[in-house]
Symmetry: C2
Subunit: 395 residues, 2 copies
């Protein structure tokens, strides 16, 4: 057998492993102290009652021959595709249920979408970035160009009309920076994609955190996007499904290349290499979109948002540059002058006993920045902010 | 964007769609008649009580902050990997938990494993075959050689020492034929793979149907296999998880190519393009391996096996050549002289109101054969066999 040589080109990502090791070492040395963890982007609140109820009911259905469900439809049960269609309609986006593909999470779909494209594409990826976009293309042996997201552009990279790309990855609200594209900025991207016959792979897993009605939840709110974009979304951050695994990918019939409807390829890819999402999970996901379910998940998001608000207020108060936090569970802030991201990590761990994520772990433009998440409790978040305030003011 | 050109080389598989259309047309014309369906390989019995109980408990854990589970480990929870390790040990196979990767089903893993190999490999696939092996390699643009499985070799193709291959797909107990490799036959395959530096992708999703203690459940029962095989297994047929989605892939540390441990590549592939299996599902899967769970799932398999026995007895009695049925939920039988598989499909539908699957849908060597499944009820299976007996005896 011959192995895929491109795996050897992947950079080992020791980011979270290194963080875990450093935290373990510190904890071992100071067992009595209370560390506040704001590093990992995982939810902490339980599933909401509407989801739990739907899941128990679905488990009971699986216990009886008359109501048992075997293989699910490859692309999702009609009841869930229809519920997602209704959710889009609430944002003024008209997509049909057949353009919505239910999967086991945005990470899988974002990763597997590369199967649809030939290796001759030029891929454009903003830096800093969610590492999956980079690694999946490295594995496929693709040429990657990077686009600088920096403090100057508010970590919202815009296209360079003189540089051609075939595939563009955008994530808004952004992981790791929390920055959100405006309607106008996304229109510029859509225009660029249409002019370049490019496809935008649009990751909107954090859309539920958007609180400003003027900011787009979906790229399909932008005229022309149906012809040039694929959208990935997830229940992970909307409804706390990180350990449940459900997401959806939307590819409109208008997205055509060389006379081929791209969603037919995705349908075939999924029918061949995927076997549908767990019935119990799909019933739980459906419950998110009921009136009660939506009210409940919005209640949970409000808790995280309150944390983010405390964080935003803190960084405003101490005058440290940051982005995110307003429409995102992430705050991305500048580290004190002269420190690297990792130096700040150590400094924060030792002086404030707060754990975050060094920005340099997300790409070269992340150097000098730091990510904190709002997924903890209000009590811990407020305590961490007090510690950070004291620490940074004292400098 | 440039699309993957190899999708255009895929054959559209209309097999199950055509069956559905023909059955609908017949039902519309004869609404009062009772058709017995033995076409689709999906289970019909509900999940067993031990699994249901574990799932309800896990759902309750997800409802409370103290016991909520976010992101699962990418390669499976230790409790499940350890339970699978114990199951292997029962068959005398020593693998470590770290060599076991939990995924969302054998189809996904068998499909996604192609990511690990370069496109220059020569792939050897028996015909007839589970279409996923073929289609995933066509998508990747690989050269495929076919190996004839026929009545002469009992639909158990053996290697040709003069033909080199890099990747070999084997499925035992086989889908669609139900044939099972003996220990000696698998040893021949392992020896071939070792001599050719090839990897055997071994699909053993139906291993729980093996009733003869001399037949191997796992390729790792064969000396040398750890150095040349990857094994895929699933809870789908073992525990009725077709709608739940859980499986596992075993890659031993001994499988090395060019100095690289292949399981490190799979670990990286899964960490990059997959985000772990649902916590509730993993708790359900764990329950399969408890004493009670194992007793219960064996009870369900005994029901399906009883159906298969009735089928085996019928085909023996009427003297029609067949394979499968003894260690498999599938019977693969010869159609009457002069008929194609599809002609027999129509004949059986119209004269006996029984639905099966034309063998030609699984490859050219399937022409003239027909697949029937044992996943129905005993009552329906017995009634179908009576109808087939009358029909074929009358010829």
């Amino acid at each position: 057998m011959f192995l895929n040589p491109h795996f050897a080109e992947l950079q080992e990502n020791y980011l979270f492993a290194t963080i875990a090791n450093k935290v373990s070492a510190y904890t071992a040395a100071h067992p009595e102290n209370k560390i506040i963890r704001m590093g990992i982007g995982d939810v902490t609140q339980p599933l909401v009652p509407a989801v739990i109820e739907a899941m128990h009911k679905a488990v009971d259905e699986m216990a009886k021959k008359e109501t048992f469900h075997g293989y699910a439809p490859d692309h999702g049960y009609p009841f869930l595709r229809e519920a997602i269609r209704g959710y889009y309609a609430q944002h003024g986006v008209e997509v049909s249920a057949s353009e919505i593909f239910v999967g086991d999470g945005a990470k899988s779909d974002v990763g597997n979408i590369v199967d649809l494209f030939s290796d001759e594409n030029t891929v454009l990826i903003p830096d800093p970035v969610y590492p999956v976009y980079v690694d999946t293309n490295v594995m496929a042996g693709r040429k990657i160009s990077y686009l600088d997201a920096t403090e100057e552009n508010g970590f919202l990279a815009m296209p360079d009309e003189n540089v051609h790309a075939d595939i563009v990855y955008l994530c808004s609200p952004n992981n790791p920076t929390g920055a959100v594209y405006s309607r106008e900025q996304l229109q510029t991207w859509v225009d660029y994609a249409l002019a370049n016959n490019a496809v935008i792979l649009y990751d909107t897993a954090y859309e539920a955190f958007i609180s400003d009605a003027d900011l787009p939840h979906s790229i399909f709110e932008i005229p022309g996007a149906k012809k040039c974009a694929i959208e990935f979304c997830s229940f992970s951050k909307t409804a706390g499904f990180t350990g449940v695994r459900c997401g959806y990918t939307v590819i409109c019939d208008e997205l055509v290349s060389g006379g081929v409807q791209v969603n037919r390829l995705w349908a075939r890819r999924q029918s061949t290499k995927f076997n549908g999402v767990n019935y119990i999970t799909q019933r739980g996901a459906e419950a998110v979109f009921t009136e009660e379910g939506m009210k409940q998940v919005r209640g949970v998001i409000a808790l995280y948002r309150k944390n983010a608000e405390v964080m935003v207020d803190t960084f405003r108060e101490i005058g440290v540059w940051f982005t995110g936090g307003e429409h995102s569970p992430y705050i991305w802030h500048k580290v004190p002058d002269g420190m690297t991201s990792w130096e700040f990590f150590d400094y924060l761990l030792q002086k404030a006993e707060v754990v975050g994520t060094p920005g340099s772990g997300f790409g070269k433009n992340g150097e000098g920045y730091f990510r904190l998440t709002a997924f903890g409790t209000l009590e811990n978040t407020a305590a961490a902010m007090e510690r950070i305030k004291r620490l940074l003011r004292a400098r």
